[in-house]
Amino acid sequence: MLGGWIDNYTQSVLIFTGINIIAAYSFFAPFKTGQVSLGQAGFMAVGAYASAVLTQKFGFPFIVSLPVAGLFAGIVGVMVGFPALRIRGVYLLLLTLGFAEIVQVIVLSWDYVGGAQGYRNIPFNPNTLGYVAVVIIALIVFFGRLERASLGRAMDSIHQDETAAEAMGIDVVRIKLFAFGAGAVIAGIAGGLYAHQATYIDSTTFNVMLAVEILTYVVVGGGSTYWGPLAGATVLTLLPEFLRTLREWLELVPVAWTDFFPMNRIYDFLYGFLDFENAKRLIVYGLILILMMIVRPDGLVTRDSLMRLHFLRWTARHA
């Protein structure tokens, strides 16, 4: 599918962007009720290993193993979410971090799934791009409907004030547990998709840094609307590609403009800095995170900016 008119490189960039978007939505679901989780990488690991074991050791087709992996991650999620109901804020952050680390240790020491050597030879799925697209569309439709449904409004009210929500008769325990479990299901699906695209996973694939990245996708994109995770994950994942384009633009600058003393040094520095090397890319990434939090602490897409968009459309229609 699609393979005919997109080259392999673009296709894999699109797939990993898509998986990051799905992972961002997995963080967004519990975040909608105010639960900040650093454990989404752990749920991704559960889903990835579950799906890999099902296809490779038991011969299930991918289309069966993926939802089962999501379901399995969801069950684990509810098991983690139950004790997590009692705590919030920094404590919840640390609890979920601890869960993700424990998943890593278990994977590392369990020889059935490869142990320290990692899990090799996971069957490659040629249609991952299609699956990713379907899942993302389903998620956007789901969260879009949720925004206007009573369940979604209940989640928002829990986010704003849990005690007040409870006093209004909202079943806080059930909704928070549902949100946490839903996040784990989505993360499990993201993990399953990843496993069958990369064909190799080990205990460091789903580490703390990945969980932190997922968190930054949502905060940078904006956690107040369901477009935020999509925007954040897309922008931050495609950033290195964009940096490389910047370098090509730099080559378009006429030589005469940069051929004297201070400019040629600056040009050489910039040109050298904008290559594809990982450390430099990450330095820029970190600087952009800091800058974002100073300039737009609510994220790229906020409720206000969406309202303004709606207002523009409304005025255009009724002018």
């Binding site: 804020g89 640390l94 601890g98 840094m209 932190v212 430099k280 990450l282 330095i283 939090m293």
Partner: protein, 290 residues
């Protein structure tokens, strides 16, 4: 055998304590998980290495140099990633400190490369025997420096005017400000102290493990978080004791149960503490909501 393991545990725990003290000080005054603290520890180790190998400093020079460099780094962090960021959104300073973490780690990866560097032997190695226990001179050095640093800090926090201001700010920002404490200054000083101690901890870790890498910060950060929680968020003496305790638990579980289970144990402790005793072992205040 068991005495030897307890001494080894104290050694490991001493560096956990030093990292966790900075965490807990900063958490106390800002209610912020300062993610970049582990990287400050890493920077300290590299500054120490540079001073010893390239500038010909002795070990004390390296310790003091690393402390000063990291204190400066703490000031930079406050002005770049803490002060300009909105305070009414709890996640914003967390993300900006994550950004700082990524920048610091990769600046060192860029200039030094991802490999480990060996830390030169700065203290002549002699082994001492006390009954069943064998300790090397560098182990004694690390332990003495760490313990005396903690004692000094404890005296400072409990008995100086500035220490009282830090404790007052940790208790309540508004009240402290009303009573004439310059909160911004207290935050800055807290960062200077915490980062300086992390710098010293980095050099001590280099002496103890005899190699350092740009990726050593993340592990230290995660262990520091566990220790901070174990001691009670914002509780400085608690962090000191909890660090030593966690070090001993890890070494003992590695010796008698297995090395892969070692990390499992520290995270299980983290989860149990969170669920059953979120105030930490020593029962300090809880932080709701943030």
């Amino acid at each position: 055998m068991i005495y030897q393991q307890i001494v080894n545990g104290l050694m490991l725990g001493a560096s956990y304590s030093l990292v966790a003290i900075g965490y807990t000080l900063i958490f106390g005054v800002l209610n912020l998980l300062y993610f970049a603290h582990g990287e400050v520890f890493m920077v300290g180790a590299f500054v120490g290495l540079f001073l010893v190998t390239h500038a010909g400093f002795g070990i004390f020079g390296a310790l003091i140099g690393a402390m000063i460099a990291c204190a400066v780094l703490g000031v930079i962090a406050v002005f770049v990633a803490i002060r300009p960021v909105a305070k009414d959104r709890p996640l914003a300073p967390l993300i900006s400190s994550i950004g700082l973490t990524i920048v610091l780690q990769n600046v060192f990866v860029y200039f030094i490369g991802g490999q480990q560097l060996s830390f030169p032997e700065t203290i002549s190695q002699t082994l001492y025997r006390f009954g069943p226990v064998t300790v090397s001179s560098s182990q004694i050095f690390v332990l003495v420096i760490a313990i005396s640093l903690m004692a000094l800090l404890w005296l400072f926090i409990e008995h100086s005017k500035l220490g009282r201001a830090i404790r007052a700010t940790a208790e309540n920002h508004e009240t402290a400000a009303l009573l004439g404490v310059d909160v911004n200054r207290v935050v800055l000083i807290t960062f200077i102290i915490g980062s300086g101690i992390a710098g010293i901890a980095g050099v001590l870790d280099g002496i103890k493990n005899s190699n350092i890498s740009p990726f050593m910060g993340l592990g230290a950060a995660v262990k520091g978080l566990i220790v901070m929680l174990l001691g009670g968020l914002g509780n400085v003496p608690g962090a000191m004791v909890a660090g030593l305790l966690l070090g001993m638990i890890e070494i003992l579980s590695a010796a008698y149960i297995g090395t892969t289970e070692r990390d499992l144990f520290s995270f299980l402790i983290l989860i149990l503490i969170l669920l059953y005793k979120p105030t930490g072992l020593f029962g300090t205040r809880t932080v709701e909501g943030r």
